[in-house]
Structure formats: structure tokens, C-alpha cells
Amino acid sequence: MGGKAKTPVTAGSYLVFAVTLAVAVLFAFPIFFNIMSAFKSNAEIMRDAIAFPQGFYIESFKYLLTETEYPKAMLNSAILTLGSIAAMIVVIPMAAYAIERTNKAWTNAVYVFFLFGMMVPFQVYMIPLFKQLNLMGLFGNLLGPIFIYIAGSVGFGVLLYTSFLKGVPREIEESAAIDGCSRIGIFWRIVFPLLGPVTASMVVLQGLGIWNDFLMPMLVLPSGQTKTMIVELFYYVGEFSSRWDMIFAGTTMSLVPVLIAFLSLQKYFVKGVSSGAIKG
């Protein structure tokens, strides 16, 4: 990169910039179009899709926030995302730590058993799972999806954490043990803080996946009170089929948290991709 900076600016540099800019306009347009349309009335959208909004029309936001269950759905999505992530980063690193530090036949067997789950797509087990949640009384309860998310990320998470733990030296743990620190204390006070980079990748990747998830929450949280934001939006597309302004306002509201998270945690999003690249 340093070498590149020294080369002189040529006509080629302007050409590359122009091409990149054109492609960027193409890529950004749908998102720009979405946010722009959220501030247009339905009549405006129908009259001319490309035109800029005439004023700052916020009636659709007001309507969604006061007359519908959208705020509730936003809250559900937030609870589901934060709750699952919080539980995930407790349960998974602990299991990975025990597996990595105990080199026994049974822990290796558990490890292989966990990895197998990475290859099973959700569609393969969703049908019996639906019935099973009913039997367990978790159907329509936010706790159900939280359990499913944790369970579904065990394979991938354990793989990430164990491979990182291989590079974490045991000496500190051993001296802490000699000082009389309990195993759980060693893990939380000494090891867990060292796992920061993996935890950050997990939070970003899984958090985004849960926030955006559709199929599973639609199947197991069908009632009005527990629908997530994305599921609610999906039904709006059918219900408000001629009220696009409503849907645009809804999609804009669900994009804003993602945008904020992306801008503030950009580094982790990019890193998360490379760690996600090993996921099958």
C-alpha cells in the first residue's frame, strides 16, 4: 500500500475513481431509495418513484409508532438479539474452554459432536422443532427462539473459541490455580477477557443474523404480541399491500440500528467476515 501511495496521479487514477463512483451509486441506490421513500406520502411514491420527497413527511412513522404493534415488535427483536447474544457468550466460551484445556477422549467426542451441527441447516430440523416447542410449552414464548439461537451457534462458536484458545498460554491459569483461584474464577477473570476478539466477532455476526432472521421467528412466534420486527414487516407487505409508505418507514426504522452498529463497530464487522469465512 505504501508503494501505491508514491505513484503519481495519472489519468488512470481518475478513470478508476469515476468507475468506482458509478458502481457505488448503483449499489447505494436501493438503500437511498428506501430511506428517501420513507419520507414521502403514498401518493407521492405512486406518482413518481424517483422524485425527491416534497416535504418532510413523517406521518407513516407516527402511524407505525402509535397505531400498530411495531414498537412492541422492535422491543421483541431487541430482547431476542441481546438475550441470545448474552447467553451465547456465556455458554459457548465456557464449553470451548473446557474442551480445549481437557484433552480427554470424551471431550474430543463432544467436540466432534458439536462440529457436526455446523453442517446441519435450519431447514433440516425446523419441522420437528416446531412440534417440539409446542410440547415443551415454549411456542410463542421468546425463550424458545433464544434457546434455538444458542443451540444453533454452538458448533460454529465452539470452533472459533477453541482455535483461539490454542494460542492462549496456560501458565497464567496454572499460577492462578496455585494461588487458590477457583476454576470458574480463573475462566471469568483471566481467560474470558483474553477472548475479546472472538467474542467481538461472535457478537457482531450472530447479533446481525438474529436481528435479521425471518424464517424461525415467523414459525415459532406467530402471535401479535411476540412477533419480531422483520416478521411484522413481512406481514405488512401483505396487509398494507398498497401502503408502501408504511413499509418504507418500517424498513428504515429496522435499518437504522444496523447502520449505527456498522458505523461504530466497522472494524469488527470486517474481521467477523474473515472469521465467518470458515463457517460451512
Binding site: 496521479v9 487514477s13 478508476v16 475513481f17 468506482t20 458502481v23 447505494a28 436501493p30 438503500i31 428506501n34 421513500s37 405512486m46 418513484a49 455458554v91 465456557m94 464449553a95 473446557a98 474442551i99 484445556r101 471431550t107 463432544v110 459432536f113 458439536f114 453442517m119 441447516p121 431447514q123 433440516v124 430440523y125 425446523m126 419441522i127 420437528p128 422443532l129 416446531f130 417440539q132 434457546f147 444458542i150 443451540a151 444453533g152 454452538v154 458448533g155 490455580a177 476454576r183 446481525l208 436481528w211 425471518f214 424464517l215 414459525l219 422483520i230 414487516l233 413481512f234 407487505v237 429496522s254 435499518l255 456498522f262 466497522q266 470486517v270 467476515v273 469465512a277 463457517k279 460451512g280
Partner: protein, 301 residues
């Protein structure tokens, strides 16, 4: 001597704590992934409707039906079309984007973020936006065609069986390419500048440099991206749900979509699980090939 003593003591200690550390993950994973997976295998041999307590064993009938059903064949055909098209297009577009971001002089991080952002969107939201952009009467695409005097080319992009699948494929390329771009970009930035300089001194033009130096050195990134985009395309669901619901007719029904429709729309959960097993087998085969290919590359390195 003391080392072996502490070692022994440590071992016993390890054993007692390891169980408790692993147990929560093991229980959740077993109950919410493994039990339903094995139930799926069992249910695929039944004619269960999802409601009645009468689960009848029908042997291989479901798989026989899969083998013979034209609707399943159509879904399989669509799945293959989507997979091949997405793997090719996503990778070509991602590589082009990575080259642009790598070469551009100004605003590099800004461009990278713009290309990457669609990756962060839910398939439902992205599908909805494209559904409206592609709408026959009020959509942006047809409006632009009108402005350009190409009104004759105007089409109901999602309502016409000839274009519906294509529209889903192209909008998915828009959504996913940024992900693979990041992987290619890391590959590009790992290529030593000296190699390209040496090639250019030897008289290789830009294209030849790319063809004979850059592209071969991106082999690792390419393998990863091809496999990931392949598996991603087999799991495509949200866009189809919101943009076409599998229609018009069965024009955009893929394997993942037909599983959902058959099981939850038509009350044939036994048949649905049999289809799910077929999907699983497909993904398993691809994953095994992936491991094979990756191992081979490791040996070469």
C-alpha cells in the same frame, strides 16, 4: 517429582469442572438441534400431517414421490440454476469490486462500506425494496425504461415466469457480493507488490499481470468464496418469500422454499422432512467436496 504430583491432582480437578462447563451447551445443542434432526430422519419415513397424533410409517414412499414429482424436479432445477448463477455472478462481481476498492486512490474505506452494507440487510427488507423497484406500474426500473424511450422493454419483472427467477438472482448478487469482496480484498492486499512490478518489467500488461500473477495468487480466496456462495445459494429463502412466494406458479420455488411450503402451507410434514433430508444430503456432499479441495490446497502450500 512434584510436577507429576500436581499433574495428577490437576487432572482430577479438570474432570470435575469440565463437565459443568460443557453441560449447558451440550444440553441446549442436543435438545434444540440434535433431537429434531434425528426426528426429521424418522419423520421422513412417515405420512405425518403435523397435527394428528397418528404418525403412519410409509417406508420410502416420500422419497419415491420426490423422485417422481415434477414439482420437486422443477424446484431442484431452480435450485441448481440459482446456485450456478449466484456462484458465478457473486464471485465475478465481488472480484471486480475488490479490484476497484484496491485500486481506487481516494475514499477507499468509504467505497468498501458502500459495497458491504447490503450484506447487513435482512433478506426480507432487501426483497421488499427490490420488489418495489421492480414493480410494473410504479417501479423505478420501468420508470427509467420509459424515460429512456425503451417503454417496449418494460416487463412485470416478478410476475413474469421468464424473469422472476432472474430478478431474484440479480438482486441477491447485489445483496451478497460485498461479503465475498472483503475476502478477495484481503487476498489482493496480501499479494507482494514486487511480483507485479517484476511482471510489468518483463513486459506484461495489466491484463496479463492479472491473468498470470494476481488471479492464481487469489486461489485460496476463490475456493473459500465459491464454496460459501454455493452453500448460501442453497439456503436462499427470505427473498423468495417476500418477492414472489415461489410464484408465479412454481417458477421460483427452490428446494428450501418447497420444504417450507409443503410442511407449513400444505400440512404434509412427513413429505417436508423427506425433502429436508435431500437438502441435507446435497449440502453434506458439497461440504465434503469443500473439505477435500481445501485439504488439497493446504498440501500444495
Amino acid at each position: 517429582m512434584s510436577a507429576t504430583a500436581t499433574g495428577k491432582k490437576k487432572n482430577q480437578w479438570w474432570r470435575s469442572y469440565a463437565i459443568w462447563f460443557i453441560l449447558p451447551a451440550l444440553i441446549l445443542y442436543s435438545v434444540f438441534v440434535m433431537v429434531p434432526t434425528f426426528s426429521s430422519v424418522y419423520l421422513s419415513f412417515t405420512s405425518w400431517d403435523g397435527l394428528s397424533s397418528d404418525i403412519r410409517y410409509i417406508g420410502l414412499d416420500n422419497f419415491k414421490e420426490i423422485w417422481e414429482s415434477p414439482r420437486v424436479h422443477n424446484a431442484l432445477k431452480n435450485t441448481i440454476i440459482v446456485a450456478v448463477a449466484l456462484v458465478l455472478l457473486e464471485n465475478v462481481v465481488a472480484l471486480l469490486l475488490a479490484i476497484l476498492v484496491d485500486q481506487v486512490r481516494w475514499l477507499r474505506n468509504f467505497f468498501r462500506s458502500i459495497f458491504y452494507f447490503p450484506v447487513l440487510m435482512s433478506g426480507i427488507i432487501m426483497g421488499f425494496i427490490w420488489m418495489i423497484i421492480l414493480n410494473y406500474n410504479f417501479g423505478v426500473v420501468n420508470q427509467l425504461l420509459d424515460m429512456l424511450g425503451l417503454g417496449a422493454v418494460k416487463t412485470d419483472w416478478l410476475g413474469d415466469p421468464d424473469f422472476a427467477l432472474l430478478s431474484i438472482i440479480l438482486s441477491t448478487v447485489w445483496k451478497s457480493s460485498g461479503y465475498y469482496m472483503i475476502i478477495y480484498l484481503a487476498g489482493l492486499q496480501g499479494i507482494p507488490q514486487e511480483l507485479l512490478e517484476a511482471a510489468s518489467i518483463d513486459g506484461a500488461g495489466k491484463w496479463k499481470q492479472f491473468r498470470h500473477v494476481t488471479f492464481p495468487l487469489l486461489a485460496g480466496a476463490t475456493t473459500v468464496c465459491v464454496m460459501l456462495s454455493m452453500i448460501g445459494s442453497l439456503k436462499l429463502f427470505d427473498q423468495i418469500a417476500v418477492m414472489t412466494n415461489g410464484g408465479p406458479g412454481f417458477a421460483t420455488e427452490t428446494l428450501t422454499y418447497i420444504i417450507y411450503k409443503v410442511a407449513f402451507g400444505e400440512g404434509r410434514q412427513g413429505f417436508g422432512t423427506a425433502l429436508a433430508i435431500v437438502l441435507f444430503a446435497l449440502i453434506l456432499v458439497i461440504s465434503l467436496i469443500q473439505i477435500r479441495v481445501l485439504r488439497k490446497r493446504e498440501v500444495q502450500m
